[in-house]
Point group: C2
Chain length 449, copies 2
């Protein structure tokens, strides 16, 4: 990590103009089928491979109340059978064709993908289109998969105090929006998810007019369109699907603080998350400033927080800032501080606040911002070598309410962020009324606040 | 208030046995119509009057996400017209018959009632049965009433920092349950409530098998049954209505704290609310202990908190404890402290915690508990003189998942609570992990925590 950063700095002086000249976007073609299914084709002819993805505009934040986890549960169940594919056979066929497949669920979407040789794309489409409408599930499969998911929750959440802490903080950050409910679901609700819940979520959300096809790799867009028309085209649109309008946050009037004690915690830390605007179609400037703010404050060894808290004062052993702007609704901007030995959470938090306040007064270091912009530009270019990552970038953005034009404008919008934009974003975002500050600690007796 | 308390104490010694002998329940008859509508008749023949109520098992916590306030909005709209009653005519007819009428919405129910001369009961039933199914609404009525409700919200909430504070704390107390959403609704959601939302909530919830009829006063139960069969009986049950199963809370693992600053606040104060069990059918003992705990800790001049914080140490100018056990799902147990001049919120909170800790160690004063039980018994008897209050007690309990038997057992269950039960309840309930502590303060600069 450090090595990569140094390397980038070393090449910067001469390389920057070259990078700047290479900012033309990847070769992307889009089309929409008559049934409303959108498609993005990203051409990359360096290897005879393809990634085929279908993204549904249906994530955990689109679940009805009381059935948390059903989006993710259905994602698992989509690997059961259809009328023509036996249970579990889907992935076997992909593997038999030399490919790999998987799926993922987030707050805003659920996605399925396969990486295969380019000449296997048709088979993938045929199978993916099949399970868009023909999924068959049995009570037994649901029962068994529920146990798998409960065990997944054990592994990922119950056994990890930091993950539990995240869930508790998210629930406090969102007063009304379903982003406050974990993607995997609350345990007590997962326990009662049943076949009908899965079928309902499937019927309500899985349809071509709620899906985005992303094909990236060694393909001809015209061929992809023809195949998509053949396999996805005959599936009728679901007229009940309308653009998502989720419950939004009311005014947040009151700073929230929480202490979580867990005997498994060896290293206490602080996370504060502020409610933050997301990338909106045609209006990504504020989100871009927040991306830059997170980088300037907490991105890597030369960040402001690292310099002030780790190098200059040895207050923390780790600090960072995070922001993820690709989101349908309001997202979070976070600050993290892990205090050094002998430093209390209170002292670390005060130092963190002081560092942020100083930063707002001192302003952004122009050289640091240049470095960050250069690195981002470089990452954008490197990313073009990774067709999976490109496919994910387009799919994730489109499933979060953005357009192809937004994705393509994003790098330049990031480059256009000024020092003043960043400070303005900081002044706006750091409103304690819209924040949750959490302390994660070990033994109970430390838990004073 | 003080006068009443002293008077009760003065009569206690000789009066207690007499009171104890009068604990037989009021004269209550129940029946259920074929369409599932439950009915409770409470006889009180001292005056030729009657209160007629219909309670729907549909409160704000039964609303779909995103349309907060629709239960209350529909309550307002129920005073518009039907096929046979012109808009606004309902209340005019009640008044023309010498009666009064009104309605109320809570988390667990919406209720409508009229107080009239006993011989007007039939007319009330006819009209109430009519609007159970025949409500007609126009876009104009909905638009106008929405403005009324927004103004109601202005008056009751936006102009009252304490009410805003309550909303913010409730949202933090409930991580998953809809009790975290205000009954009147979030302002931004009220603003978009429309005719269809109202009609949907009406269609989904207003049906005889989701309603409880309560008639109290100078009536013969057989006459009431006959009238109910005549007017409510023909309305078909809605087969889609099933017992309510709402999203429940996940484990609460982390104490939450909030500070709200509002320049309109002249007197800062602290409220801490703990998540608390409610009265459950056939299992009201724990709730009874919590009622007693609230009384012992914070009920009136001689309460533990008042003695320790106001009289002995002059730390606070006001303190109380509150608990409302009549609730379908988990409710709250609250502690309030208003610091004296020169005492900080931090100091007041520490004193409050110290007082509670001392109380748990010292135990319950037997004489105080006897006084409270005597007062409660007296209130139960006095309440029998208030037919409205009796009707509300039965209706509220039944609409919150309890039975007539639970209502009638409740006074004796309260009397049976022991000192040990109260301390056990205190030890269980005072789990900071399941609590929200709020500080309401004036100017921003005081807002350190």
């Amino acid at each position: 990590m450090l090595h990569r950063a140094l390397m980038l700095v070393a090449v910067m002086v001469c390389a920057a103009p070259v990078l700047a000249a290479e900012t033309a976007s990847e070769q992307v073609t889009t089309f929409t089928l008559d049934n409303g299914m959108e498609a993005v084709v990203i051409e990359d002819h360096r290897a005879p491979a393809v990634v085929h993805m279908v993204w549904y505009r249906a994530g955990s934040a689109d679940e009805p109340a009381g059935v948390s986890g059903i989006a993710h549960f259905l994602e698992h169940l989509m690997f059961k059978g259809t009328d023509t594919i036996a249970p579990g056979e889907f992935s076997q066929i992909v593997a038999a064709n030399g490919g790999t497949d998987n799926a993922f669920t987030s707050f805003d979407y659920t996605g399925y993908f396969q990486r295969v040789a380019a000449d296997r794309l048709e088979l993938m489409m045929q199978m993916e289109a099949d399970r868009m409408v023909n999924l068959t599930l049995t009570q037994d499969e649901v029962r068994t998969e529920r146990e798998v998911i409960l065990e997944e929750r054990n592994q990922r959440v119950e056994n990890d105090p930091g993950a539990l802490f995240n869930e508790q903080r998210r629930a406090a950050l969102y007063m009304n929006h379903r982003y406050g409910v974990p993607i995997i679901g609350w345990r007590h609700e997962i326990e009662s998810l049943d076949l009908q819940d899965a079928l309902d979520f499937y019927a309500d959300n899985y349809a071509p007019n709620n899906a985005i096809l992303v094909v990236a790799g060694d393909v001809d867009p015209a061929d992809v369109k023809r195949l998509a028309q053949t396999y996805y085209g005959p599936i009728p649109a679901d007229p009940t699907i309308v653009p998502r309008q989720r419950p939004q946050e009311p005014p947040q009037l009151s700073e929230r603080r929480m202490v979580m004690n867990d005997p498994r915690v060896a290293q206490p830390y602080i996370i504060r998350t502020y409610l933050a605007p997301e990338r909106d179609p045609g209006a990504q400037e504020k989100a871009a400033a927040l991306v830059m703010l997170a980088e300037v404050l907490g991105g890597g060894q030369t960040s402001v927080l690292n310099r002030k808290l780790q190098f200059e004062t040895q207050t923390v052993v780790y600090t960072s800032a995070f922001y993820s702007g690709t989101s349908l609704d309001d997202t979070g901007f976070g600050l993290v501080a892990v205090p050094a030995d002998g430093v209390s959470l209170q002292e670390a938090e005060e130092a963190l606040d002081k560092a942020v306040a100083e930063f707002i007064t001192e302003g952004v270091d122009a050289a640091q911002l240049d470095r960050i912009k250069f690195q981002m530009r470089a990452q954008q270019i490197y990313a073009r070598d990774n067709v999976d990552r490109l496919a994910r970038r387009y799919g994730g953005a489109l499933a979060s309410g953005l357009t192809v034009a937004d994705v393509q404008a994003w790098p330049d919008i990031l480059q256009a962020v000024t020092e003043a934009d960043i400070i303005a974003a900081a002044k706006e975002i750091f409103d304690r009324k819209k924040s949750v500050t959490g302390w994660l600690m070990g033994a109970e007796q430390e838990g004073t606040l």
